[in-house]
Amino acid sequence: MSSKKQHSIFYQGPIPAQKIADDIQKHSAKTNIGAHSIFLGQVRQDEKNGEKVVAIEYTAYELMVEEKMAVIREQFFEKYALTCMHIHHSLGRVAVGEICLFVFTSSAHRRDAIDACNEMVETIKKELPIWGKEICTNQSSVWKQNN
């Protein structure tokens, strides 16, 4: 439960709703927390070339992600008065409707948790070497592009 402990952000397959509940529950012992901010990315049923997306397959340069996250984590704890910050990103196949990203920040007062959560979502999308491949109904695939 140490707030700055570094462990892999990667989760094999979709992130279960139950894990989110368990993580929230764990924080009830931290009585200096007043606010939690959570962002969840869910795989959306887009259409690519007329075919429906059924899943995204995620791959990553894991070693580089871990090294970058260690630096980013330090920066966030310097910038924001956070009690804790937990980040989980799926690897492998995540079907439409399932959760692929879980960002969870906590603080005494709401602005720190909210602002850190928002900035972290942007940082993950821009800075981390992770790639999503959208798999369609006809087995065709399209590499995802972030905006």
């Binding site: 992770i130 790639w131 999503g132």
Partner: protein
Amino acid sequence: MGIKVLFFGSVTDITIVSELSREDCADTDTLEKELLKQFPALANKKYFLALNQQVIHENCPLKQGDIVALMPPFSGG
């Protein structure tokens, strides 16, 4: 131990393999030229280079044990 080259995302559509090794290579410019000879379609591909998990923007000398990665734009989240 050589130099390890890693391919990620849509770059692997071109290279098919996700990893290869070079016995030896002077610098990243030389390595890129060799890779372009081996995989000509890389010429039309947008990608960044990372040397030992750090994005690089200019030519860097290579030594044994170095890891070079070819990474297309990120699309996590």
